[in-house]
């Protein structure tokens, strides 16, 4: 994109012209890459306005300083312009990686290529403040569900039942978010131990839209998806529990791992069933539904526990005050 031609600086002393030049190059420097194109014109308009103001003056450095001081520091001016151009979106406050192309929308469909984090899991899956049921997916293309909004619609929770999700959940209950996914992973391990050896040499790897098998592979390939998914989840739990004690993050990691584990169990069970002559995806589809239900159950239960703890804290405080 070609920048608009800067307005001429007739009638200014070289020193004054240099001041104007320095000021506006600082504004340009402070503009975010994302908004630079859209702000360019506004900044050039401001520059023309400054030069017009200077027309009636002697055009000295002192005049320039006086006029420019009305605009404020160049960085603040740039921030204001970005804010106005980007419709008040807090672009400047987002971390640098958010300016990357790793997430956004294609033809209106959201995509996310950054690996999921425990914080993002909670922000998307458990946000009772947001009335939207469908929110951008945490990884890949499309949408995911905001279990928090569903719980509000079902009347199970109120949007403000917790100040910060899971913050008040006592430690011993946060452990549920560790135990449940480990149990699910253990269940998958048991299934593999019992059925893997007896699988035929060739197994179904993929089912078409109609539910008919359309891709086959070796029996070891049946392990790939469930084992990789479950191990990735367990790794997220491990890293999260070692690095932080924040309940929100621990619950986020636990919820994602529970879901991945349950999906993996459904996937593996379906392969085993198909190998034993079952037709159709009568384990996989209910299994996927169950994995969402299990995750929903985990989040709702911990949120109710957190809510109860928050209420108890305030009511206890109130009754103590009452006694004094």
């Amino acid at each position: 994109m070609n920048a608009p031609e800067p307005a001429p600086m007739a009638g200014l002393t070289p020193e004054a012209a240099a001041l104007v030049e320095t000021y506006f190059s600082r504004v340009h420097g402070a503009l975010l890459v994302a908004a630079a194109g859209e702000c360019e014109e506004t900044v050039e308009d401001l520059r023309a306005h400054v030069l017009e103001e200077l027309q009636g003056s002697a055009g000295t450095a002192a005049d320039v300083t006086r006029v420019l001081s009305e605009l404020g520091p160049p960085e603040a001016l740039a921030a204001e312009c970005v804010d106005a151009t980007m419709g008040g979106r807090p672009v400047a406050l987002e971390p640098a990686e958010d300016h990357s192309k790793l997430h956004g929308r294609v033809f209106g469909v959201p995509y996310e290529l950054r690996p999921p984090t425990a914080a993002r899991v909670v922000a998307l899956w458990w946000n009772p403040l947001d009335p939207h049921v469908f929110v951008p997916t945490m990884f890949g293309l499309g949408w995911t569900v905001n279990f928090g909004s569903i719980a509000v619609r079902l009347g199970i929770v109120r949007p403000d039942d917790e100040d910060v999700p899971f913050a008040a959940v006592p430690k011993r209950y946060v452990a549920i978010a560790l135990v449940l996914p480990v149990l699910v992973a253990g269940f998958l391990g048991t299934l593999i131990a019992v059925y893997q050896a007896a699988l035929p040499a060739q197994v179904v790897n993929h089912w078409g839209i109609t539910g008919a098998p359309d891709q086959f592979g070796s029996k070891e390939s049946a392990l790939f998806f469930p084992v990789v998914m479950t191990l990735m989840g367990l790794a997220l739990i491990g890293v999260t529990w070692i690095r932080t004690r924040t309940p929100l993050l621990r619950v986020g990691a636990g919820a994602l791992t529970t879901w991945l584990g349950a999906i993996s169990v459904a996937d593996y069970a379906q392969r085993v069933a198909t190998a034993h002559g079952a037709t159709g995806a009568w384990i996989l589809l209910p299994g996927i539904a169950l994995s969402f239900l299990l995750t929903f159950g985990l989040l709702v239960t911990l949120s109710r526990i957190g809510h109860a703890a928050e209420v108890r804290r305030d009511l206890d405080k109130g009754s103590k005050k009452g006694r004094v």
Binding site: G87, P128, D130, R158, D160, D161, V311
Partner: protein, 128 residues
């Protein structure tokens, strides 16, 4: 007051650009509306939603109010406390903090300035 009530239905015939401009514009106002409401006394979430919904010109829903309450609380302008309710489960009551009181006074003054200036600019000649 009467004129404001007539404006709301007209929005449906406006373009989406106008809609998004209006919603931008309202977001700032709703924050002040919540502070003003709590300045009169503490209230719980459902009550705040209901009382603000009584002003159709503001076009406020629960989806707007709760995120704002959460943000105002995080920025320290309001506090909350759980209290027993005479009917049903305990309720979370919100009230202005000391910082919120100061902020509300400043915002209310600024609002007076803005409305004064806008009344002059829009004037009686502009059809409203």
């Amino acid at each position: 007051m009467h004129a404001t009530r007539h404006e709301a239905p007209e929005e449906h015939t406006m373009g989406s650009d106008t809609d998004s401009r209006l919603s931008q514009f309202r977001k700032g106002v709703v924050e002040l509306a919540i502070l003003a409401l709590l300045h009169r006394g503490e209230a719980y979430g459902g009550e705040i939603v209901e009382r603000l919904a009584g002003h159709p010109g503001l076009a406020i829903s629960a989806g707007t109010v709760y995120p704002l309450l959460s943000r105002l609380k995080k920025s320290g302008l309001i506090d909350s406390v759980w209290r027993e309710s005479p009917v049903g489960p305990p309720r979370k009551y919100y009230r202005l903090s000391v910082a919120g009181d100061i902020e509300f006074a400043a915002m209310a003054r600024a609002w007076d300035g803005v409305t004064g200036a806008m009344d002059e600019l829009l004037g009686t000649g502009v059809s409203r």
